[in-house]
């Protein structure tokens, strides 16, 4: 499987070339173009219950599309809904935890598990629903805006909306920013406090931030 990421970082598009017999699994609705002789199968994501849970909690589609090359090599292009970058991770020994909406596609040898973020993340608008990618193979994630990789060693604080993914070696708690006054008035909402040693990927913009900016200019 060969891949090229084009038009990055702001409106990235992933082009995947599949050799006969190879497959790639993608989030529903992300296909931009494809060769004529590609085989498509639509499957439930991570089992029925997980798929339903995903639909209810994450607002994501219940289905994935699996694209397979039959006799000839084929190309398929993928892009997320919103503006931003696409980046590739190699999943091997350390599983990666992904924020809802950041999953784009992956090799079929990568396993995806629905992970309930727990009650703590209920208080923030994001992070309620997380995916855990295990197994081994290429995983492609998308970010709203650019992507910044942070090596956490000790403690690190992140606004919940900016979280894309982190290595499972990191643990997090959700907490308020500063004092109570800051929590209510600072506009920062809740933050994630990461502890441990591992990589964290953050996105440089938050969709709801763009919406609140836009609302100031809407015709009244």
């Amino acid at each position: 499987m060969k891949h090229t990421i084009k038009h990055n970082p702001s409106y990235a598009l992933l082009d995947v070339e599949l050799s006969p017999g190879e497959s790639i699994q993608a989030e529903a609705g992300v296909m931009v173009y494809m060769s004529d002789d590609i085989h498509i199968n639509s499957i439930l994501g991570g089992g029925f219950l997980a798929a339903v849970l995903r639909k209810i909690l994450g607002g994501e589609s219940m289905f994935f599309n699996v694209f397979t090359a039959k006799e000839k090599p084929v190309n398929v292009g993928f892009a997320p809904d919103l503006a931003g970058d696409i980046f590739k991770l190699n999943v091997s020994d350390t599983p990666v935890v992904i924020q809802k909406g950041s999953y784009l596609c992956s090799e079929t040898a990568v396993s995806l598990k629905t992970r309930f973020g727990g009650l703590k993340s209920f208080f923030s608008s994001e992070g309620v629903f997380l995916l855990e990618a295990g197994g081994s193979g290429s995983l492609y994630l998308s970010s709203y805006g650019g992507i910044v990789e942070v090596n956490v060693d000790g403690e690190y604080i992140l606004d919940t909306g900016h979280m894309v993914a982190f290595e499972k070696t990191l643990d997090f708690t959700v907490s308020k920013t500063g004092g109570w006054k800051s929590t209510i008035f600072s506009g920062e909402g809740l933050t994630m406090r990461f502890k441990g040693h591992g990589k964290l990927w953050i996105q440089t913009r938050v969709p709801r931030g763009f919406i609140s900016w836009l609302m100031r200019f809407l015709p009244s």
Partner: protein, 224 residues
């Protein structure tokens, strides 16, 4: 204080390294991430009236956050809300006029004041109030799209929705572009004619046009 702009020009963030005891002021909601030794303090800078004026007229947040590094140096990342570039300018005992919502963060010594654009901007429908940033220190401001710096020497015409900021040495007048027919049909609305010598910053997308486009997609709810 040191800074690094990461990911220019489309969706950049600014990473600021504060020495022990140093602080920086930012718009509410601009913080992306930080090391755990940074304290956050929320206040209505410039008093309640000043903050109210800033919020109502300049589209800025009522409260602003002050971030201070305690017990060693600390690192903090800020991002604007909109899609587009982030521009740095070191002010040296001078002023810069910014349009609504362009201010992201800056040195605590900079004075931010809402400025009445005058009746002339009433007709422009945009940027009724500008912000005047004055003093000495680092300033970071954002744009919808890329930022282009234009050195004006003489006259230059900019669409109102594309102005990010300009130096106070420039004089401007709001006018229509083209003939009377163009006023209603061209989709251009009003433009700013700048005169004099100084720098203007323009953004490559128009927030008003985009908002009108977005508005067309909104659901319509009938009033009960």
């Amino acid at each position: 204080m040191k800074h690094e702009l990461i990911g220019k020009p489309d969706f950049p963030v600014v990473k600021i390294t504060l020495n022990d005891g140093e602080c920086i002021v930012a718009e509410a909601g601009a913080m992306v991430s930080m090391t755990s030794n940074i304290a956050i303090e929320t206040s209505a800078r410039g008093g309640v009236m000043g903050s109210l004026k800033r919020m109502v007229f300049s589209g800025e947040s009522f409260f602003q956050n002050k971030f201070t590094a305690n017990g060693g140096s600390g690192e903090i990342i800020f991002a604007p809300e909109t899609m587009g570039d982030l521009h740095f300018r070191e002010l040296k005992n001078e002023a810069l006029i910014l349009s609504r919502g362009a201010y992201v963060c800056g040195s605590p010594d900079l004075k931010i004041e809402s400025k009445w654009g005058g009746f002339k901007s009433l007709f422009g429908g945009e940027g009724l109030m500008f912000q005047k940033i004055e003093g000495t220190g680092s300033l970071f401001f954002s744009s919808f799209g890329a930022i282009e710096e234009i050195v004006i020497n003489g006259e230059y015409v900019i669409d109102n929705g594309h102005i990010v900021g300009f130096e106070p040495s420039l004089d401007f007048s709001i006018e229509k572009v083209g003939g009377l027919k163009s006023l209603f049909l061209s989709g251009e609305g009003f433009v700013c004619r700048f005169k004099g010598h100084g720098k203007a910053y323009i953004q490559t997308r128009n927030h008003s046009s985009f908002a009108v486009w977005a508005d067309g997609w909104r659901k319509v709810e009938s009033r009960q």
